[in-house]
Symmetry: D2
Subunit: 355 residues, 4 copies
Amino acid sequence: MAPQKLKIACAGLGRMGARHALNLLSRTPRAELVATFTPDAKEVDWARRELEPSGVTIYTNYDEMLKHPGLQAVLIATVTTAHAEEAIKAINADKHVLCEKPLSTSVEVSQSVVDAANRKPHLKVMCGFSRRFDASYRDAHDRMEAGSIGRPSVFRSQTCDRLDKTGFFVAYAEFSGGIFVDCNIHDIDLALWFLGQDSVVKSVAAAGVCAVQPELRRHADVDNGVGVVEFWGGKLAYFYSSRMMAAGQHDMTEIVGTEGKLVVNGNPTGSLVEMHEPTGVRREIPHDYWGRFQDAFVTEANEFTAACLDGTKLPLKLSGAVQAVQIGRALQESLNSGQKIYFDETGRRIEQARL
Amino acid sequence: MAPQKLKIACAGLGRMGARHALNLLSRTPRAELVATFTPDAKEVDWARRELEPSGVTIYTNYDEMLKHPGLQAVLIATVTTAHAEEAIKAINADKHVLCEKPLSTSVEVSQSVVDAANRKPHLKVMCGFSRRFDASYRDAHDRMEAGSIGRPSVFRSQTCDRLDKTGFFVAYAEFSGGIFVDCNIHDIDLALWFLGQDSVVKSVAAAGVCAVQPELRRHADVDNGVGVVEFWGGKLAYFYSSRMMAAGQHDMTEIVGTEGKLVVNGNPTGSLVEMHEPTGVRREIPHDYWGRFQDAFVTEANEFTAACLDGTKLPLKLSGAVQAVQIGRALQESLNSGQKIYFDETGRRIEQARL
Amino acid sequence: MAPQKLKIACAGLGRMGARHALNLLSRTPRAELVATFTPDAKEVDWARRELEPSGVTIYTNYDEMLKHPGLQAVLIATVTTAHAEEAIKAINADKHVLCEKPLSTSVEVSQSVVDAANRKPHLKVMCGFSRRFDASYRDAHDRMEAGSIGRPSVFRSQTCDRLDKTGFFVAYAEFSGGIFVDCNIHDIDLALWFLGQDSVVKSVAAAGVCAVQPELRRHADVDNGVGVVEFWGGKLAYFYSSRMMAAGQHDMTEIVGTEGKLVVNGNPTGSLVEMHEPTGVRREIPHDYWGRFQDAFVTEANEFTAACLDGTKLPLKLSGAVQAVQIGRALQESLNSGQKIYFDETGRRIEQARL
Amino acid sequence: MAPQKLKIACAGLGRMGARHALNLLSRTPRAELVATFTPDAKEVDWARRELEPSGVTIYTNYDEMLKHPGLQAVLIATVTTAHAEEAIKAINADKHVLCEKPLSTSVEVSQSVVDAANRKPHLKVMCGFSRRFDASYRDAHDRMEAGSIGRPSVFRSQTCDRLDKTGFFVAYAEFSGGIFVDCNIHDIDLALWFLGQDSVVKSVAAAGVCAVQPELRRHADVDNGVGVVEFWGGKLAYFYSSRMMAAGQHDMTEIVGTEGKLVVNGNPTGSLVEMHEPTGVRREIPHDYWGRFQDAFVTEANEFTAACLDGTKLPLKLSGAVQAVQIGRALQESLNSGQKIYFDETGRRIEQARL
């Protein structure tokens, strides 16, 4: 008898959703993709061609999908604005949940998902911070944990997208929560992972420019942002995000400790090929987030599946997703007000710097 | 109804065989691993634990395995000395075959597999030169085909293993065919791929040293070898193989054309992490062949499966496996005789250099 | 008849002073080191051995040195606190001046040197921002000027020293002006060079930690600092400085433009040697500032000499030295107050963010 | 009183000669360039402008130059065919000699220079193998000597020039001695330095192609050559030279030992600038030999000067220059005959491989 597989559904079949669905279908051996949901006609067509032949039922109504016979888990990859409601519905229907980041661009709404999950401790509920599943980030974290850099003290991380000349991200900015919530959320989550999930923010300050897309100001956003976050206890993180990289996606991180430094992806590379040409030596780099992190998404799907089937612990806490949104929101607020924002040792907002 | 899957068996569950079996089980969605063969008791135990629960039947007799109901294809990953006989039996039993390299260390025996395959043109029979499935090599080949380096003229390639202090490779040398047949076979195959599968050898000359394992001389082998192969028509390849790398596996290739150069894996890297330490900046590199090429093996299994199911063309010709062994053997002979070996424009061996 | 040489004196023979003196002696063909000044007995001894045999007169009184017959120029490399007074004296004595950075840690005192120089427009007076003479920075600047990255928009730069376990830099912090004035002054100067010398600061915000040397707080300083500087007109710079790098000196810069990015020294390297070892692949990096920039100091000395002899323009304006100190001081103040500091479009300090 | 300087003359003011002359003038503090010789009118003009104002006497007759009052040393940078005769004349006139490589493309003629030098043991006579003065090669050699890679066993080295589309090197090939004597001479010299100056050649075998310049066959030369040299005692070297690199000069070396490997200039780089562009990440590399090794030439001039003035030992033996030409000639002969060439343990040529 073949081992039991996790019956899972994929909600949302947009760019990321389709990728998640295919991962569940072909690269997650212990999962069985049984259902999918999308309200979008084009995506339904795609699912008819790519998923239905493998026995996946297609729903255009999320609630119907949740009632799919035997369904045990849901991967939510719809638009951000739908994440929280769908996650809570799934939890209430007793399904395990893997929700794409962020739970919501609102701290309160994000917290409501955590509250729902807390009421069902037997369920596995995870927010998909994919970089936590990346082999290189894990390697770096293991080395840090093993003491190789002494006490981590300064953390630098960036999420830099290739310039999308269609201007897609201007429209997108209306709902994204802004560059710090949309892009740097990953870096903030990593900062908490590397500096300590219990780190308490002391201050945040952000600045930014609209170098290529002035229209972003309409949505209180920028195309290049820099943020600095101080934590109580003598730790510091700083972040950069950009929408205008020429060469491709360049997400990188540096953890500076008292005895050494770890750098993750300091030199972005798309393949192992170098080209010697009349203009010099050239290499290409991944064009997008997927090109850099596709294997991490596979690991994420597999580990989530294993945790559901085996009842083992998830590698990251759901509450971390709220912390990250909280910091991202504060950075975005600081960007737009021009003010530095302060917090006391309990994480409560205060008016004045406390040194 | 789920799409049809290729019912495949894996013969041999040693180090590479076990990896192949797991790839077929978990990372080859269109294949169904239905049977396995190994005469080794420990490997049977392993298969009981790891494969049987997924419905794989375990055989200790290869011929019995071939009779497994519905079996369509066999992946052969037993010891090299068994490859050819097992491949021919499978072909005769009307099974598609994916055979680990080399078909045999003998040119004639290798050719007998090709002959058997030629009698069954409806079967897919492939020798697993894994590097042909590596994304970076493919990227380089595509670029060359697109004309980016002009006319390829000089080809350099190396297969360098990490020093195995157990001395395992001394015993192994008895049957390996020697370092040029065992290691550089990959580089030779790549040379044919990049310089033209129809390239005709003009001369071969090899030299080598036993730097760490003098006992290799017993098996007419060395632990470091350099070989030069001239092709008719003005193309040149040179190869290096070593068993004593300190840092890990370093397989790399350089294709020099009249207008540019492509380098594959000039800078070996294990992950995207760099460590800044008191002794400088350090990175680790893959420890073995698997660490470098594991994804290529997955691609290989998937493409072989697709070719069997869909009747499409395999990405490499079986006859190339004979060419590569032929060149590898000549290099090994040159190493041991100290003589340069010459061939005429038809590939026939001659006594004197012809310029 | 040999061409005329510039008769120059070197004031200060400490670590940097001695290097400057030797550069003037041996690597600045058009300069003739005729005199030197140091009040320090050990340095006098060193000068007797190393400089006197080449005809250099040693003075222990700065004013006496200025009267050396035929003296045309002075290179000032004494302690920072003496720079301004000595520079002004030299200017008043009608000597060209090359003064080590900073002119002073005080904005007003720095300005007084500029004022003195302005009264003697026939003299060449330069503050030695050595990185402006580094071949790689110049290469990057030329590329930017040629339009290769579009409009420069975000500037990142760091000055990171190797950890000096003697704790020297704690005592040093008493007079250094703090990490932003001492280290990041270089990065600030580069920011002005790359973003435009006429850039007007809109805000500065800084944060820092004492990760290895808590005693630095006595001098209102830190061992790791991060600063963000907004300029009016939509440009942004951010800086990092550290006293605790394990591997060595790592000063690097990144200029992000609307169409590309330039990185200077992203991968620090001490030589062209890479070591493959059982622990991986390793390279060493320069241990200190001198190891990275020694050639830049030679270029600086030669170009200053040429400007004095030929009456040509210096490659950087003296007033820039005041701008840089001004920004460095504001960052240091922000670090210590925890407050963000704002400026209006004319550069005047204001109380509130103006958006 | 200023310290005594070495009165030196520079013979030859072609591309390299002019560089040597300027180095002696401006970057060799202990040398005084007093005279120069060139029969070429254009070079005389250049010397009038660039050297005469600094007090350098210009000669159009080599013998006259040798009689320049007080002359102590000569740097010979004329055409290769003149090297030996001029060197012997200078030695006989009791001058120290720094001669550009090679002494001659003939073994016998090279030896005659060594013989002349041996008759005047008080003179410093050196053949300028510039790479021996390169900081990175020295760093690698020091590390090897310190035992960091165990016993050096396999040596790989290449000299690869940027494609010169004017075809200059075709005419040049008439007198160059061929690619192995002209280019790989450096690599051969390095092999002797790293594997032991007393290494005895056991066999040489070479092959090559004319990929871009078929006319080179007229001069029995190629534009890409590969050579393998076995040494008695279990050491192996292999070489590559090319005239058709697209990106620039790429000279590199790899020393493989029983416990590690050293790589010199595996990743050629022209400056510390990396460019992120829409086509990826790019760096430029040196266009020519000078771009890579100009500092080594300065070191060479300074160390030669010091040895002459102080009577200290030169860093390399003159006889090594004969060994290197001998090996280069044998490789070139093997290239053209298509035959492997054998030597016995005493270095005497033999007909058959001896194992």
